[in-house]
C-alpha cells in the first residue's frame, strides 16, 4: 500500500502548533489562541455529507479533503465532536489480527498512527508501549502462535513470549503456574500502544476544518432522502441539506441511520464497558490484554489504570453497563495484578459497539446509490481510526471500494465470505 501523500496544504490562516509558539503565547497570557475549528452555518448543499462527527467521520472528512481534494464536505454531528465511542474507549492501538484482510487494514492504520501527530499538527499522544495478548490455555497458545505467524507473513511485527518474558515486561503480573488462569505466554506487538482518544477527534476536526470542511455540531440527521434509488441529501433538525453523496459513520447508531434509508444491517449494538482507577504512579508500561478473562488494561499518561471489560450480552443503547460484567472484569484484574486489589475504581461507563457476525466492519457502498456505510467495528473502532478514515475517503471519492476495504463489503453476508475475527472457538475435546 502506498503511503498517504499530501496534495493539499492547510489554509494559511491555521495557526501551527509547536513548542516555540506555545512559549510565545505564554508571553501573551494565551489570550489570542485561534479557534481549533470554526462553527459555520450549514450551507444548503454539499458535495458530500458525512453523518457522524467521531474520530472515523472526522478522519474521513480530512482524508477526503487532503487526499482527494474534495473539500465541499459537511460533517454533521448530533452532539459534540468525538462524543460517542471516540471518547469512551480504552485507547488501545494494535494490528495483530488473525485474518489477512483485517491485519492489513489495521496495520495500515497503525502506520498512519505513528506519524499522525505531525501529520495533523496535533499531539494525539500515540505511545508505542507495546501490546501483550495473554494466553492462558494450551489452545490460547496455539492460537497465538498461529496469529503471530500469520502476522509475520504480512510484515506485521510480533513475537510469542514465554511466561518469564511476560514477567520481565510486567513485573506486577501474577505469573504463578497455580493461578486459575495461569499465564502460559503471550503475543507481543511492540509497535502497538495507546493514544489520547479525545485528541484524535479534535486533531482531525481541526485539520479538516483548516482544509475547508464544515463541522456542524448539535445538528441531528432525522432522515435520509432517496430518489430513484439514489441519495439526494439528509433531513436535519435545521432543515434539508442536499448532497450527492452521504457517508454514515455513526457507531452505535448505524442501524437507526440505515432504517432512515429503508435498509437493515447485519449489526447488533451492545454496551462495551470500561473503567478507570484513581491515578497511580507509573507501574504498568505495556498494554495487557486477556481475551480469556475479558480484561484489557493499560496505564494512561495521567496515571489512571484504564480497563476494558466485555460487552453486555444483550442489545442496548444505554451508555452504561450491566454490573456483573464489571464485577467479572475487575476480578480478572485482581487475578492478574493482585497488588491492584486495593486500588480504587474512579469511574465506569459503557460505549455502544456495533457488532457484525464476523466481528469485522462493514465499509463501503450500500444498495442506495451514493449512500455509504462505515460501521460494525465492534471493539476495533478506535485503533482503526486513521486507516478507516483513509480507506473510506478513498472509497467515497472513487466510488468503488479501496482495495483494503474490499473484503468488508455488505455482499459478504450473502456469499458467505465472512472474515471471521472471532478467533478460534474454545477447545472442545
Amino acid at each position: 500500500m502506498p503511503p498517504p501523500h499530501n496534495t493539499l496544504k492547510p489554509h494559511a490562516l491555521m495557526q501551527r502548533y509547536s513548542l516555540p509558539r506555545l512559549l510565545a503565547h505564554a508571553r501573551r497570557h494565551h489570550e489570542d489562541w485561534q479557534r481549533a475549528w470554526r462553527n459555520p452555518a450549514p450551507k444548503d448543499a454539499y458535495d458530500t455529507v458525512i453523518v457522524g462527527g467521531g474520530g472515523h467521520g472526522l478522519a474521513t472528512a480530512y482524508y477526503l479533503a487532503k487526499e482527494h481534494g474534495v473539500t465541499d464536505v459537511a460533517v454533521i454531528e448530533r452532539g459534540y465532536l468525538g462524543g460517542g465511542n471516540t471518547g469512551r474507549n480504552t485507547t488501545i492501538v494494535r494490528s495483530n489480527y488473525l485474518r489477512d484482510a483485517s491485519t492489513r487494514l489495521y496495520d495500515f492504520a497503525l502506520d498512519l498512527w505513528r506519524d499522525l501527530s505531525r501529520e495533523i499538527n496535533f499531539n494525539v499522544m500515540f505511545s508505542a508501549r507495546g501490546v501483550l495478548n495473554l494466553g492462558h490455555t494450551l489452545q490460547d497458545m496455539r492460537d497465538i502462535e498461529r496469529r503471530v505467524g500469520a502476522n509475520r507473513l504480512n510484515g506485521v511485527d510480533g513475537e510469542v513470549l514465554t511466561t518469564a518474558e511476560v514477567q520481565r515486561l510486567v513485573p506486577l503480573m501474577n505469573c504463578s503456574p497455580t493461578s486459575r488462569y495461569p499465564v502460559l505466554g503471550a503475543s507481543w506487538q511492540p509497535r502497538g500502544g495507546v493514544a489520547r482518544h479525545d485528541a484524535v477527534a479534535w486533531g482531525y476536526a481541526r485539520a479538516a476544518d483548516a482544509l475547508g470542511v464544515d463541522l456542524l455540531q448539535q445538528t441531528e440527521v432525522v432522515g435520509i432522502r432517496v430518489e430513484n434509488g439514489a441519495v439526494t441529501g439528509v433531513e436535519t433538525d435545521l432543515g434539508f441539506i442536499a448532497a450527492r453523496r452521504v457517508a454514515c459513520v455513526v457507531a452505535g447508531n448505524s442501524g437507526v441511520l440505515a432504517r432512515m434509508a429503508g435498509l437493515r444491517l447485519p449489526i447488533e449494538s451492545r454496551p462495551l464497558q470500561a473503567l478507570v482507577s484513581e491515578p497511580l504512579k507509573p507501574c504498568l508500561d505495556p498494554v495487557v490484554m486477556s481475551a480469556a478473562v475479558h480484561c484489557y488494561i493499560s496505564q494512561s499518561a495521567k496515571g489512571d489504570l484504564v480497563i476494558g471489560a466485555g460487552t453486555d450480552v444483550y442489545n442496548g443503547y444505554g451508555q452504561r453497563g450491566s454490573f456483573p460484567v464489571l464485577e467479572h472484569a475487575v476480578a480478572a484484574v485482581c487475578e492478574l495484578f493482585p497488588a491492584f486489589s486495593r486500588v480504587r475504581m474512579n469511574r465506569h461507563w459503557g460505549g455502544i459497539v456495533d457488532i457484525c457476525p464476523d466481528a469485522c466492519p462493514v465499509i463501503g457502498p450500500s444498495p442506495v446509490r451514493g449512500l455509504y456505510f462505515n460501521c460494525g467495528w465492534g471493539t476495533g473502532g478506535f485503533k482503526s481510526t486513521p486507516g478507516s478514515g483513509y480507506v473510506f475517503a478513498d472509497t467515497i471519492a472513487n466510488e468503488r471500494p479501496h482495495p483494503l476495504a474490499a473484503p468488508f463489503g455488505l455482499d459478504r453476508f450473502a456469499s458467505g465470505a465472512l472474515v471471521d475475527e472471532h478467533g478460534a472457538a474454545a477447545v472442545a475435546h
Binding site: V256, L265, S269, V313, Y314, N315, Y317, F413, A414
Partner: protein
Amino acid sequence: MLRIRCPYCEEARSEEEFAYAGEAHIRRPEDPEALSDREWGEYLHFRTNARGPHREMWVHAAGCRRYFNVLRDTVSYEILDVYPIGKAPSDDSTGNGA
C-alpha cells in the same frame, strides 16, 4: 442491571439468572433451499437492532430453563412486556414484532 419477570417461575428475578437469546420472531424459513443466497444471508445475519422497544428472547438459564419473549426498551432498559414463545406480540405498533 435488569430484573426480569419469568412468566413460568412467576417471579421477578435478577439478570444473572437469565441469558439473552437474540431477536424474537425470526422464523426459520420453511424451505431454506428455495431461498436465494441473499435471502438466506438476510435470515442468518440481518437484524432489526431496534433503538427503543425491542422484541427479544431470553432464557431463564439458571432457573426453569424456559425461553420466553420480552419487549424491552433498549435505551431506557424498561421492560414493557413479557410473553410466551409462539404468542404474537401483544401490541404490533411497537418494536420489531410489527
